[in-house]
C-alpha cells in the first residue's frame, strides 16, 4: 500500500508538470460524456420513458456505469495501455523487479485525467437522485456502492483480458472496444432494453448486467428482491478467468520474449 501511494505521488507530480494539458484533457473527457448526456436528455424530451425506465432513472444508470468505467480506467490504465508497455520494453523492466507483475502494471499507469468523467457522473447523479423517487435506506446505499464497485471490477477485468491478449498479438484488438467503450456507451440504458439476447450475453458471458440491470431493478424499487443487490459481487467472479488468461499470457511472453 505504501508503495502504491508512492506510485500515486509520482503520477501526481508528473501531472503538475503539465497543468494546462491535464486541465484540457479532463475538460475533453467531460465534454465527450456530456454529449451522451445531451443525447439522453433529448431522447426523453420526445419519449417519456423507455421500457418503463424514466429519464432520471436512466441518468442514474448512466452515471453509475460512467463512474465505474472511469475508476477502472483511472486505476487500471496500465492494462489498457499494455500494448505500449510491451512495445517499449517497460514490461521487461517490470519483470526484472522483485514485485508482483499485476501490482507493478497497476502502479505504473494511473490516469488522473479521468476526473473529468468522474465529475460528469457525479453531476448527473446529483441531478438524478432527488428526481428518481428512490426512498433511500441502508440497503439501497449498499446496492449503489456494490454497483459502482462491481462495475469497476468488471471493467478492470476486461482491461486485463485486453492486456493478456496483447501477449499473443496486438493486431485486431480493436474489437475489445466493443466491451469497454461499447459498454460505457450503451450502459447508459439498462441492458434489458436491448432485448433478451443482449441481456443473456451480458449476464453469462460478460457480466455487465450483474452490476447494472439486476441491482438497478432493486435500487429503483422495480423489484423487492434484496439478493439482487449482491449480484455485483457475483460479477466479481469474472476476475477468475481474466486472471487465468493473464497467467497464460505471461507464460507465453516468457517463452517468446516478444
Amino acid at each position: 500500500m505504501k508503495l502504491y501511494l508512492k506510485y500515486l505521488s509520482i503520477h501526481i507530480k508528473s501531472i503538475l508538470q503539465y497543468k494546462t494539458s491535464f486541465l484540457l484533457t479532463s475538460i475533453g473527457q467531460f465534454l465527450v460524456s456530456f454529449n451522451v448526456f445531451l443525447g439522453i436528455l433529448f431522447m426523453f424530451q420526445r419519449f417519456s420513458n423507455v421500457e418503463g425506465f424514466t429519464y432520471s432513472e436512466c441518468l442514474m444508470c448512466y452515471s453509475i456505469v460512467l463512474l465505474s468505467f472511469s475508476f477502472a480506467e483511472c486505476f487500471f490504465r496500465g492494462f489498457d495501455m499494455f500494448a505500449g508497455m510491451i512495445g517499449n520494453g517497460e514490461f521487461d523492466r517490470i519483470l526484472v523487479r522483485p514485485r508482483g507483475l499485476i501490482f507493478q502494471v497497476i502502479g505504473s499507469k494511473i490516469e488522473l485525467t479521468r476526473v473529468g468523467r468522474v465529475l460528469q457522473a457525479i453531476v448527473m447523479f446529483c441531478y438524478a437522485i432527488p428526481r428518481s423517487g428512490i426512498i433511500w435506506s441502508a440497503s439501497k446505499v449498499i446496492t449503489l456502492v456494490n454497483m459502482v464497485f462491481g462495475g469497476t471490477v468488471v471493467f478492470a477485468g476486461l482491461f486485463v483480458i485486453y492486456a493478456s491478449l496483447c501477449f499473443f498479438t496486438i493486431e485486431g484488438l480493436e474489437f475489445m472496444n466493443i466491451f469497454t467503450d461499447g459498454a460505457r456507451e450503451y450502459g447508459k440504458y439498462p441492458v434489458n432494453i436491448y432485448g433478451k439476447n443482449v441481456l443473456k450475453f451480458c449476464t453469462y458471458l460478460v457480466p455487465f448486467a450483474l452490476f447494472q440491470y439486476y441491482p438497478f431493478l432493486y435500487l429503483t424499487g422495480k423489484s423487492n428482491q434484496i439478493f439482487l443487490a449482491f449480484y455485483p459481487i457475483l460479477g466479481g467472479l469474472f476476475l477468475i478467468p481474466c486472471y487465468l488468461l493473464w497467467q497464460s499470457g505471461v507464460r507465453h511472453y516468457k517463452s517468446t520474449g516478444s
Binding site: K6, I10, S14, D92, R93, L95, R99, R251, G257
Partner: protein, 266 residues
C-alpha cells in the same frame, strides 16, 4: 557464479512481403520462418568477473541477457545463477541482479531523479540505512549531486545514463547486466561511465556482463570476451586471444572484430 549449459531457443517469425498484391495474398496464407536465437550456448562466469558479450545485431546477445535476467524461458538447457534458475525463481533472482538497458529508461520522465530512486527503494524494499549509504556512494562516484533534483526530461543523455546506472545499483546487486551503456554518449560521459564500472567491480566485486558494439568499452572494461553469432558461442577468451585471430598485428580492434564476423559468416 553463473553456469550456463546448452541453452537453446527458437523463435517463429512471420514473414511479410511488400506490395499490394503480396499484401492481398497474405490475407489468406501466412509464412513462418524459424530463427534459432540460441544454439546450445554454454559458458561459466565466476563471481567478480567482467565479461564483454559481443556479436552482430540479431546474434542472440539480448536473448541471452533475457534468459539470464529471468525474462525469457529457454526451450532447453540449464542456467543456474548462485543456485537459482532465473525463469523459475523470478522474484528472488531479480532481487540480486541489476539491469541497465542502454536505449530504454527506467526513470520517470517528468519528475526529479530522486523520486524515481525512492520508488525503486520501495519496490526493492531496501532498508533505510542501506539505501542512504548506497545513494551517498553512488552520488559521489557518479557525480550526481547537481542533477538529482532535476526532472529527467531536462537531463542530457550522459547525465541520464549516469542516473540509470545508479538506479540499477541502489539495491546493491551482485550481478550487473549492461546493455549498450555508452550508446550515444559523448567522450567525457563515456569515460566517466567506464571508470565508474571498473571502480564498482573492484570495490564490491560485482560481476559485470556487458553487451556493446563499442570495442573501446570492451578494451577498457573486460578481461574476457564472449563472441556470439547465429546463436552459437564462437569464441570465449581474453582480448589477446581475440587479437591472435588477426593476421594483421596493427589492425584496430574494430577491424579485427569485423574480420571475425566475416570469417564466421555472421
Amino acid at each position: 557464479m553463473i553456469k550456463v549449459e546448452k541453452l537453446s531457443k527458437t523463435y517463429q517469425v512471420l514473414r511479410r512481403n511488400a506490395g499490394l498484391k503480396e499484401a492481398f495474398q497474405s490475407l489468406f496464407q501466412k509464412e513462418y520462418e524459424e530463427i534459432r536465437a540460441l544454439d546450445e550456448v554454454t559458458f561459466d562466469i565466476l563471481d567478480g568477473e567482467m565479461v564483454g558479450y559481443i556479436g552482430p545485431n540479431g546474434a542472440g546477445k539480448s536473448s541471452t541477457i533475457k534468459v539470464l535476467s529471468g525474462i525469457l524461458t529457454p526451450d532447453s538447457g540449464t542456467c543456474v545463477i548462485d543456485g537459482r534458475i532465473p525463469w523459475k525463481n523470478r522474484k528472488s533472482h531479480v532481487r540480486e541482479i541489476g539491469v541497465v538497458f542502454g536505449q530504454r529508461s527506467q526513470l520517470w520522465w517528468d519528475v526529479p531523479v530522486i523520486d524515481s530512486f525512492e520508488l525503486i527503494r520501495d519496490i526493492y524494499m531496501i532498508p533505510k540505512e542501506k539505501y542512504e549509504s548506497n545513494l551517498e556512494e553512488l552520488t559521489v562516484s557518479l557525480s550526481l549531486e547537481q542533477i538529482i533534483k532535476t526532472p529527467v526530461r531536462q537531463l542530457s543523455l550522459g547525465q541520464r545514463m549516469r542516473c540509470e546506472i545508479a538506479a540499477s545499483l541502489l539495491h546493491s546487486p551482485k550481478i550487473l547486466f549492461l546493455d549498450e551503456p555508452t550508446i550515444g554518449l559523448d567522450a567525457v560521459s563515456k569515460l566517466a561511465v567506464r571508470e565508474f564500472i571498473i571502480q564498482l567491480n573492484q570495490k564490491h566485486n560485482t560481476t559485470v556482463i556487458l553487451t556493446t558494439h563499442d570495442m573501446q568499452d570492451i578494451e577498457a572494461l573486460t578481461s574476457r570476451i564472449l563472441l556470439i553469432g547465429k546463436g552459437k558461442i564462437l569464441l570465449d577468451g581474453s582480448l589477446t586471444n581475440l587479437k591472435e585471430h588477426s593476421r594483421n598485428q596493427s589492425a584496430s580492434l574494430d577491424e579485427i572484430v569485423a574480420q571475425l564476423y566475416r570469417q564466421y559468416e555472421i
